[in-house]
């Protein structure tokens, strides 16, 4: 005998997975291949499919099946039980806010995001403010409806869309340790680096050679080209499906490093997707365990590996052989010089361009502000002021009057994605803790990396993280992989070792 309700749910979620497959390829195509005139039709197709998926998940019958599967006497395997838990989570996410609110927020978000593209360029806060107010009001309403449907606080109810099971009380503690440590540390690193002589390689670096370099290193670190591609898009991303992962980059002829590190970052995301549990790919339990863990895999690849001295020892000759030209100083291609170039620290305005050390301060600033917004302790009109205050406090920079490089720089709030920002820094910290565990588990890891040998490391990551999909909660996954929950110690030690030793 089988649990028929559960079986029916697997069939339903398989259908959803297949629709998501085509939507995901449609998104990738839109960003990398589609001619401009196709955008309206594509937007409509993607919107309709997301409505269909939402209807399928939030159908009353789906809720009934979940309840009946939970109450059934027929026992499920561990993975089936975890799968049912994930189905229930998705059903709750889809049903705990009213469809009127979904529509209203989608509309306000798309209006605000659309206007933002021009208003930011114009540094026009005045016209942006009312649009953002509208989005924030609806997001507060959303957070309350989600809180009512769960036992969570309003902010946590948003956070849980990206970090299932995590609470802001725990994040507050972790971030407070960083706020205590980082500002002084940043000063120290900046002073130390002021004396370092680094040689900037001078381009142009032909795009074809850069592409070849990215492909070569992707291959070396274990991207599976039988199940994925590298293309170009305006904003780099990792998309597609686990069976066929599409990553993108963009190239500048003057700077190869940004694209290269971007490619390696996205390759980290991609390897996670390619390593998800094969037997469960079409089910909720087979997907990645939230944004913080996803980001941990990209930052593991980029920060823990690619910007490390051992990796640069391995890759420097490959980089040189593909990119060196008559203009470039031979010495600029040394592993040591590339290492220093790839780890320069400089407090600046823009989060997406920030280095590893200042990045968390950008995130914490946003996290603190978005909590205030959701708890109605801050009005949108006062955003520029508090942004300026915190930037001065954390990074010693003023954004007074400079909205475009201040509170108007990110896309996230324009469509009401509050609760997302902390995942970046949680990811960076998870990555450091995971690397520490891998280093303990794998003999001669540093040496392997210097030699371009990544098999054991990939095997370890696959076993500990990738192949677990969403079987564990985030905390359980970190315990499974590292023996303990997320802890600031590893991250802080990593920063000290990399930037002050």
């Amino acid at each position: 005998m089988s649990n028929t309700s559960y079986t029916e749910l697997e069939k339903l979620f398989n259908r959803i997975y297949q629709l998501q497959h085509l939507a995901s390829i449609g998104h990738w195509d839109m960003a990398s291949m589609m001619p401009a005139g196709g955008s309206q039709a594509r937007g409509e197709a993607l919107a309709e499919v997301s409505v269909i998926i939402n209807e399928l998940i939030s159908d009353t019958r789906t809720g009934d099946l979940i309840q009946s599967a939970q109450q059934s006497k027929i026992e499920l395997s561990d993975w089936q039980t975890a799968n049912l838990r994930e189905m229930h989570r998705l059903w709750l996410n889809a049903t705990s806010i009213s469809s009127e609110l979904v529509k209203a927020k989608a509309l306000a978000g798309s209006q605000c995001e659309h206007a933002w593209r021009n208003l930011r360029a114009e540094n026009n806060w005045q016209d942006f403010q009312p649009l953002l107010e509208n989005v924030i009001d609806l997001t507060i309403e959303e957070s309350q409806q989600r809180a009512d449907a769960s036992s969570l606080s309003p902010y946590d109810a948003l956070l849980n869309l990206y970090e299932p099971g995590q609470k802001s009380t725990a994040i507050d503690l972790i971030f407070s340790e960083l706020v205590e440590f980082l500002p002084a540390f940043i000063q120290e690193v900046v002073e130390k680096q002021a004396d370092e002589a680094v040689i900037q390689p001078t381009g142009p670096f032909p795009i074809e050679a850069q592409r070849e370099l990215g492909l070569t290193l992707m291959q070396k670190i274990g991207f599976n080209f039988e199940h994925g591609r590298l293309d170009v898009s305006h904003h780099p991303f990792c998309g597609g499906v686990a069976e066929d992962v599409r990553i993108t980059t963009r190239y500048s002829e003057n700077d190869f490093s940004e694209s290269l590190m971007g490619v390696l970052h996205e390759t980290g995301h991609a390897k996670y997707e390619q390593g998800l549990p094969e037997d469960w790919l079409n089910q909720p339990v087979g997907s990645a365990r939230g944004m913080g863990i996803h980001e941990s895999q990209s930052l593991f690849q980029e920060m823990q590996i690619a910007r490390s001295l051992p990796f640069l020892k391995f890759s420097a000759p490959i980089i040189q052989s593909l990119l060196a030209n008559e203009q470039t100083n031979e010495q600029c291609w040394s592993a040591q010089n590339l290492y220093q170039l790839n780890n320069r620290v400089k407090p600046d305005f823009i989060r997406v361009n920030a280095d590893e050390v200042t990045y968390p301060m950008h995130v914490i600033l946003r996290y603190e502000i978005e909590k205030l917004l959701i708890n109605r302790q801050l009005a949108v009109k006062d955003l520029p002021e508090i942004w300026d205050e915190k930037m001065q406090q954390y990074l010693g920079l003023s954004t007074a009057g400079n909205y475009k490089d201040g509170c108007m720089q990110d896309i996230h709030w324009t469509d009401g994605s509050l609760g997302y920002f902390p995942t970046y820094t949680l990811g960076a910290m998870n990555a450091a803790q995971l690397y520490y565990a891998a280093d303990k588990a794998i003999p001669d890891l540093c040496e392997n990396i210097s030699n371009g040998e990544f098999e054991m490391l990939n095997q370890w990551q696959k076993e500990k993280v990738w192949s677990m999909g969403s079987f564990y909660s985030i905390d359980e996954l970190m315990i499974h992989a590292t023996g303990e929950k997320l802890n600031t110690r590893y991250y802080i030690n990593h920063l000290k070792k990399r930037f002050l030793s």
Copy 2:
């Protein structure tokens, strides 16, 4: 007051259109971009979406809505009425065969098609025969179920899937005129061409230059690159959606002509899609009017225009400037030489490689045979024999023992697509008749073409064919565009003029 059932149907068919959009991009991606390892997952996603679409169309509620919309007292506009007629046709197509048969045929078809790829290469009729028998048996069953649900004969019920509203009695008449005319005509042309000296341009022709040539001529003849792309795939096709048409080609360094004519052929399909009625794209009435009319637009572009002397006068200098190299004889690039090269006639075994004059004989042979199969007047085991007989009769060639270049050469029957073949030759004939009408309507058409001016011609095609979508029946559309139903006269005159004058 509005016809609410009709309104609901428009919403339903919009949903279907959006799903088809993503499926179509998924198909294009599979053929042109996807890494090999993605094929199983993609196959599953496309299969699931086609099940969803079929469920949406054949739902009992859809039938009820159609009936209620037809009976409503609220009057519909002409286009809405035509749209409702097309919805009804699609509903009938989807509901007139049992779901068991759909599944059985899909399975048998995919087995036979899959095996065919190897068996054809091995010239292995013996192992192919039972697989094909299975498919043909199920297709006969399908034709009978479809006949029962309509007032059509079994063969016409299949034909109507591709040529809505057309009957084999009419096609029999048209094809009998060709059978009377062509075999002797082919002989005459072959004898005439035996004395012609043509100079073959010698390659290699770099693929980048060939691509540039294709793009240049596509642009000149009116392909809209804001709403479409050209890429590479193993089998050339026209896909995507009307708002974003994706055509493909393949290149050989030794022969530029096959790819170039292929690109222009697909551009003919693409311009039809790009010219469909903007306001109705997401509805059945907004789609192309069957395969014979679609093929008429590609053959209009390829046979009536691209292989004509005026077009080659215009394009010869462009071709020469992009492809000429030191090896090529200067004289080979003359319009007259290219014209002769592009219109060589030679009876041969393979349909897809056939010239304009012998092509209809390949089609008529298949049409005659597939009617016999459906009417149980021919057993699959006797296929090789009748194929050989008809090839000798029509083209003077024997295929005895040569299955791979005989009755095993095409993919169409392997998945049971009987009723499709006649659309190729109907398309060629429609094209000739349409060109005759365009030539009467547009002053100095030949001269315009020699000068690379296609605006008036495109405008005429858009008005007469493209923008009409499926508003008219096929016969009505030909009357709208040319003043009369399809007639062999224009095609035969075209052949005489091109090949014997």
